[in-house]
């Protein structure tokens, strides 16, 4: 009992409303400090991002300007091409005018036969080739080689015989088809690989 009383005297009296440790009013608590630090970090990040965004926007604006410049240059080039084509067309027209201004070749008109005379001549059936003399005839029959024929059609060309039979057999329609095919091919060749726009 005496021991318990001694112990009671040595301990200060219990004061429940008083803080356990005394602290200064300015010093932040550890979580608050961490939060402030985090805010500072985020603010630094934001500033960096803002700076980056500004830089990118600046770059973007430069690229927009470059695109605009290129587009303008492109438009100028197309205009030049159009002008050149117009000039070329004008030249061709002038050349055509010159051609049409040339007097007709009277010899060609004199030799042109039409109408009934042409029709009656066309109706007659052809006779065989009459060579100037028997000597020539023998020469032609016996000599080697040929004069013409190979120059305009390569040996390895398509089967012209087969194509000719097919198209000619269809008469006017076949000829018209061959012509359309020719025109389409020419138009395609003339257009080439020129970019559109």
């Amino acid at each position: 009992m005496a021991e318990m009383a001694r112990e009671r005297r040595s301990k200060p009296p219990i004061q429940p409303d008083r803080p356990a440790r005394a602290s200064s009013a300015d010093a932040p608590s550890p979580p608050e400090e961490a939060l402030r630090k985090r805010v500072a970090e985020l603010e630094a990040d934001k500033a960096y991002s803002d700076k980056k965004i500004t830089e990118l926007e600046k770059k973007n604006a430069e690229q927009d300007k470059q695109i605009a410049d290129h587009s303008a240059a492109n438009a100028a080039l197309w205009k030049k091409i159009a002008d050149l084509e117009a000039g070329f067309s004008e030249l061709r027209k002038e050349r055509g005018d010159i051609t049409s201004e040339q007097p007709e070749n009277a010899t060609i008109d004199e030799r042109t036969t039409g109408g009934a005379t042409r029709e009656s001549k066309a109706e007659k059936h052809q006779q065989r080739w009459h060579l100037p003399s028997d000597t020539t005839n023998t020469l032609v029959a016996s000599a080697l080689g040929v004069v013409v024929a190979a120059d305009h059609v390569p040996r390895n060309a398509a089967d012209y015989g087969g194509i000719g039979v097919t198209l000619v057999a269809f008469g006017a329609a076949g000829v018209a088809w061959a012509r359309e095919h020719m025109k389409n091919r020419k138009a395609k060749n003339d257009t080439g690989d020129r970019p559109q726009g």
């Binding site: 030799r111 007659k124 059936h125 065989r128 032609v140 398509a158 194509i163 061959a178």
Partner: protein, 178 residues
């Protein structure tokens, strides 16, 4: 080596031109089929040779571009049996006959090259044949002249050129004085 015309190809070409001139396209197709591809290709070459001869002959000189247009125009205008256009004939003459391009290149496609030469040449022969001749007599003249020219010795060519030049000069003088 003597240069010649193969009589077999000549006969085929002549018969094909006859069918074209008379507008007998079914008969022409049958004949092309009968002679086969190799002979037909040679016949096409003969047609180009004949067309070039006719163009030079009717122009009375080496044909100008305007001459070729006029020949094409006149031939297309007078053609009643075949479906030919002035542009077809002009391309054939300027490209193949005088441009020495291959037929497919001159006419734009193998299909046109295999179809049009016989028809165009037939039309040219009957339209531009001398009035006092039948068309096959004119064809005789073309082949015989071609044979003669092809077999001329090279040493003769300058003399031929002189004759051509003299003829042209005198003709121009005559025209100028009229």
């Amino acid at each position: 080596m003597t240069r010649v015309i193969d009589p077999k190809v000549e006969q085929a070409t002549r018969d094909m031109l006859g069918h074209a001139i008379r507008g007998e396209l079914q008969d022409l197709a049958t004949l092309i089929h009968a002679v086969g591809d190799a002979t037909y290709k040679q016949a096409l070459g003969m047609c180009v040779t004949a067309a070039a001869y006719i163009a030079v002959d009717v122009s009375g000189r080496w044909p100008t571009d305007a001459d070729l247009h006029q020949i094409a125009r006149n031939t297309a205008r007078e053609e009643t049996r075949l479906d030919l256009e002035e542009d077809d004939i002009y391309d054939y003459l300027s490209g193949a006959a005088f441009g020495y391009k291959q037929l497919a290149e001159a006419l734009g496609s193998d299909e046109a090259a295999a179809t049009l030469p016989v028809l165009i040449t037939g039309s040219m022969i009957i339209t531009l044949c001398p009035r006092d001749k039948e068309w096959w007599e004119y064809l005789d003249q073309i082949w015989n002249a071609t044979l003669t020219a092809e077999n001329l010795d090279d040493s003769v060519l300058p003399a031929v050129q002189i004759r051509i030049h003299r003829t042209q000069l005198l003709k121009d003088r005559d025209t100028a004085s009229q």
